[in-house]
Amino acid sequence: MSDNRQQLVEMADALFADLAGLSFVDAWPRLEEAGFGSLLIDESDGGFGGDWGDLAAIMRLAGYHALEAPLGEHVVALHLLADAELKTPEGPLSLAVHSGGGVPFGRHVTAAIVRGEDGVCLKAGKISEATNPAGEPRDFVEWDGLGAQSLEIDLDILEYLAFLRVCQTAGALDAALALTIEYCSERQQFGRPLSKFQAVQQSIASLACEAAAVNCAAQGMAIALDSPGHASFEIASAKLRANAAIKTGCALAHQVHGAIGFTRDYPLNRLTRRMMGWRTEGGNDAYWSERLGCMVRDKSGAQLWDFLVRRPG
């Protein structure tokens, strides 16, 4: 763990709480000013010298406060560029799994890292705007090949996106749980708070279980990324667990809230709509279950266990 994590987390928590509900345009200058971009850059290169555990903690808070910005994408992009010793463009950066659609905040960023022949691409003029279920930009971008630089590193953009979305889901589910507890402790029906009904308590306990599983998976994945060797196994496991938790957790949070949860003004939708999008982004269940299954299916049962216990964590 980086020595400064506690401080970092407290700063991020206060700032993101302040930025909650703000659009990208209003939020980004404050994020830029706070200097998160250099989180994964070595101290010797003027960065914060943080680790993946730090980024996981920050992204959990971004998910908790429904931060509307590609902060994680930006941090990872800067890290990849620094690793490849490439020139860093000014302004916000993003990650794109493939050329074309679904680029987080594509209309706002100056460049994105995309896998393919082009390597790093600068944004070209033509952008078709599109949004994810939460209304966040996921734009179609035509890449300007002239601005491309070749990125000669072992790169799996999908893994990085999966990492970010798992961490955000950990925070968003905790926030949905907190809202649910608060709401049902105040809302009275049949002469008592909803929280006093056993059926409601059981649902909320299940929501807490799902949130806890993703929080553990996110931290376990970060520990693997901060350890020697590849962390594909942990990322795959954590993303699958997060996707399952989104399915169960969002349904429970809405069920306990009833109609109020579906109003625009009530903050639950800012969490659940985002999570519904994240369940697809960074790889869905079919993608990761097949990839994870392929990692282990040629092992014997005993070898699978031995493989598991030798993983970091």
Partner: protein
């Protein structure tokens, strides 16, 4: 701000590395090999006294207890590693499981010197087995309704009443019974714990045939059973507190998510690189859950070892772990085209777990009770 789960890294003790894991695997291997394959499922309910004695000789029972009582003074995380290796291998560890996990630690915490000297060395040797007398015909999840009574008589006590669903009483040597020592007391008040030798006159054990045709749990009857004062464990009237503290010891261990592991192992054994996509995907999904649960369980173990009290997190591990080990056989059945009458290991393990797995969320506190504990921890009750 709520954070439902924080990870405390599990620092593997230097003496509990891969070589230690190999040693544990080697000790249990012969006992796994001679088992019918389906017994590898839910193996911590399978009693093989010879296996237990062998584990005792190998220093793998009573691992945390002081050496003067036959223990080995190991680190709790070393014990965790030993247990998960036994369970992952499908070893028949049921005979000594309760004594090792619950009764021994309870005696160390509340027992007299005399009780410790009398019982712990046999328990640590894997030779002396215990069972837990909690449930009664009128007291299940509502444990505070216990009516079995102990009354003072001369320099001892006389116990009357009945326990039920007592796992392992048919091979155990002692029962730790929760009884009412204060006449007219209500609910959690006036309860005490007694450790009673099962060969004491007046104690009778009647196995209950379960739905698979085996007898794993029992009725235990107490008819004017005279026990000395030395059979009282801990403080008279403190039985509720002692018994519930003991339950907390058993919520988050590796047995809460590994009861169906033998089936996953057999499934993976049957696959290779030519496995059909739906089977590959199934294994992927199950392994993701397994990895997550293991991380959670180990983190709680690390917190317990550091003296923290992760009550909610431990209950969460049990709820999610039970759900996983129940879902596993159903998920395999849904994807795999198997003849359940086939005598091969995979269908035999599957067939057994399809029947036993509904009990996984009953033992050690029902799912509803566990979720109630979580809800209380969240401030809802």
């Amino acid at each position: 701000m709520v954070q439902t789960f924080s990870v405390l890294p599990f620092e593997t003790p230097p003496a509990a590395g891969n070589q230690f894991r190999r040693q544990v695997r080697e000790v249990v291997a012969p006992f796994v090999e001679r088992l019918p394959p389906e017994k590898r499922g839910n193996c911590w309910s399978v009693a093989d006294p010879e296996c237990s004695r062998t584990l005792g000789r190998a220093g793998l029972v009573g691992m945390l207890w002081p050496k003067r009582y036959g223990g080995h003074e190991h680190d709790p995380l070393t014990r965790y590693i030993a247990l998960e290796e036994m369970l992952a291998a499908g070893a028949p560890v049921g005979a000594h499981w309760i004594a090792d996990r619950q009764t021994g630690p309870l005696l160390l915490r509340y027992g007299t010197e005399e009780q410790r000297e009398k019982y712990l060395p046999g328990m640590a040797a894997g030779e002396l087995y215990a069972c837990i007398g909690l449930s009664e015909p009128g007291a299940g999840s509502d444990l505070a309704s216990v009516r079995t009574s102990a009354r003072r008589s001369g320099d001892g006590w006389v116990i009357n009443g009945q326990k039920v669903w007592t796992s392992g009483a048919h091979y155990a040597h002692v029962i730790l019974a929760l009884v009412r020592t204060e006449k007219g007391s209500e609910r959690q008040q006036g309860l005490s714990q007694f450790l009673v030798d099962l060969d004491t006159p007046g104690v009778s054990v009647r196995p209950i045939t379960d739905m698979f045709g085996t007898a794993e749990f029992n009725e235990v009857f107490f008819e004017d059973v005279r026990v000395p004062d030395a059979a009282l464990v801990g403080t008279e009237g403190e039985g509720w507190k002692q018994a519930t503290a003991e339950l907390a010891l058993e919520r988050s261990g590796p047995e809460r998510y590994l009861s169906s592991h033998a089936l996953l192992a057999a499934l993976v054994d049957s696959l290779d690189d030519n496995a059909p996509p739906e089977m590959t995907a199934l294994v992927g999904r199950l392994v993701a859950d397994l990895w997550t649960l293991r991380q959670m369980s180990m983190s709680v173990a690390a917190k317990l070892a550091r003296g923290e009290d992760p009550t909610i997190e431990a209950s969460i591990v049990k709820d999610l772990g039970n759900t996983y080990e129940q879902e596993l056989p159903l998920a395999v059945q849904a994807v795999l085209d198997l003849d359940l009458a086939d005598n091969a290991p995979l269908p035999r393990i599957l067939s057994l777990l399809l029947q036993t797995s509904p009990s996984f969320s009953l033992r050690g506190g029902t799912r509803e009770i566990i979720r109630g504990i979580i809800a209380r921890g969240l401030g809802l009750r």
